[in-house]
Structures are given as structure tokens and as C-alpha cells.
């Protein structure tokens, strides 16, 4: 079953993708599968174990099941301060 996912990119991911957000139709079952799919397509250098993921504005486990209309953000290593 395919679903439509809204993805937002920040920092190094935004630069590597060349845009800040997009809507993607995917058959990936989990956030993890979805990142692997995008990484293959866009050449993101960071592996998933260096990132966190947020689903609908909350941090979420990589194994979270995706639902149609979800908003995902992949969180590169942070560096505030």
C-alpha cells in the first residue's frame, strides 16, 4: 500500500537534497525503510544510525510504521551552542 509522506530537510540533508521539503509517495513500511529509500535516491552521506527521526513533530523510533499524510523530519547530528 502506498502513502504520501511530507518530508522536511535540514542542514546537511537540505543541502544534499537541494530543497527544504517535498511530498513523496512511498511503499516503505517504516521510517527506517523510508530513509534507506531516500538515501539511495538522493545520495545522502549520513547513515541512519547517525540520525534521529521525528514523525509529526515528535521524536519517534526508527521502526515507527508510516501512515498516509505523515510529516517526517530526519535529524542530522545536532550542534547547538
Amino acid at each position: 500500500m502506498t502513502k504520501s509522506i511530507h518530508v522536511q530537510y535540514f542542514a546537511i540533508l537540505r543541502e544534499q537534497r537541494g530543497l527544504a521539503q517535498e511530498k513523496i509517495t512511498t511503499s516503505a513500511a517504516t521510517a527506517s525503510e523510508f530513509y534507506d529509500e531516500l538515501r539511495g535516491r538522493h545520495g545522502f552521506t549520513l547513515p541512519a544510525d547517525r540520525l534521529r527521526v521525528a514523525v509529526n513533530d515528535e521524536f519517534a523510533p526508527w521502526g515507527s510504521a508510516l501512515s498516509d499524510g505523515d510529516r517526517l523530519v530526519f535529524i542530522p547530528p545536532v550542534a547547538g551552542g
Binding site: 535540514f10 549520513l46 547517525r50 527521526v53 535529524i75 550542534a79 551552542g81
Partner: protein, 150 residues
């Protein structure tokens, strides 16, 4: 209060939020853009944040500090946008009856904020090169710890 600010931080205004007749101690921390990092001359920095997630995670950190230490109030603000040398990137202020808790909570907040809040930093070097800090991909042998699993 935890705030992501596209405007320059105003420490005096932030500190006024902490005034309390019970407070005997106020510890603050300011992070400034410095002229070198890891041996390279730094010219400027860009900070960006996921403001919604950052403010949620920041408020969790402040609540943790309230639970762990005997403090009265705590405020943290982090700048986003383009910063130059000497600009203030982050301000943390904590009031308490006694100084030990004020210091410990202030340090806890900045340590956790740097480790957990979705804020990213791109350094611009005098050489013309740029780098997103902590985002190099040199493999696990490089000593960069992987992100904590959720």
C-alpha cells in the same frame, strides 16, 4: 522559557524573566562565536533549527533541570541565522536560593541542549571551506559517536 530566536539575543531582557525575591544566586552561560575551531580560523557561522521540535526538546530539558536541582527559574534562548565573530549564539540563565544548584542546573541545561536540541551549525572558515559540525562521515573508526538510539 526555551526560545529559538532569529533576532540577536538580549541577555538583560532574558535575565529579567528570572527576577525573584527568593533568589540568592543567578548563574548564566553565554556561547559566543569564537575565531578558531579544531585548529581552523573561523570567519562566520550559520545556525539553523527545527523550531517546533527544538522548543519542545528545550522545554523538556528545562523541566528536567527543575526536577533534578533545587532551582527557582531557568531560561534558555538560542540564536539562528548568520552570525559573525563575537556574536552570542546561546544564553542560559538559572536562579536558585543557593549557588550550587544554580551552577549545576545551568551546566546541565547547556550540556543537554548541545546534545539533544535540533540545532545545526555550519562553520565558514577563513580558507573559504565550510563544514556542518558533527556531520562529517568518516565512519565509526573516526571516533564520532553514533546518535543515541531512541
Amino acid at each position: 522559557m526555551f526560545r529559538i530566536s532569529p533576532e540577536p539575543l538580549d541577555p538583560a531582557a532574558l535575565q529579567r524573566r528570572l527576577l525573584d525575591p527568593r533568589a540568592g544566586a543567578c548563574a548564566t552561560f553565554e556561547g559566543w562565536v569564537r575565531n578558531r575551531n579544531d585548529g581552523q580560523a573561523v570567519r562566520a557561522l550559520d545556525y539553523e533549527a527545527h523550531a517546533t521540535l527544538a522548543e519542545k526538546e528545550g522545554l523538556r530539558i528545562l523541566a528536567e533541570a527543575q526536577a533534578k536541582f533545587s532551582i527557582l527559574n531557568a531560561v534558555c534562548a538560542h540564536r539562528v541565522g548568520s552570525l559573525v565573530l563575537g556574536d552570542m549564539a546561546v544564553w542560559v540563565g538559572v536562579t536558585a536560593e543557593h549557588r550550587g544548584d544554580a551552577f549545576d542546573a545551568c551546566r546541565y541545561i547547556i550540556d543537554e541542549a548541545k546534545a539533544r536540541v535540533p540545532i545545526w551549525k555550519k562553520e565558514h572558515y577563513a580558507s573559504g571551506a565550510t563544514a556542518w559540525i558533527n556531520c562529517a562521515t568518516r565512519g565509526p573508526a573516526s571516533g564520532i559517536p553514533p546518535a543515541k538510539p531512541q
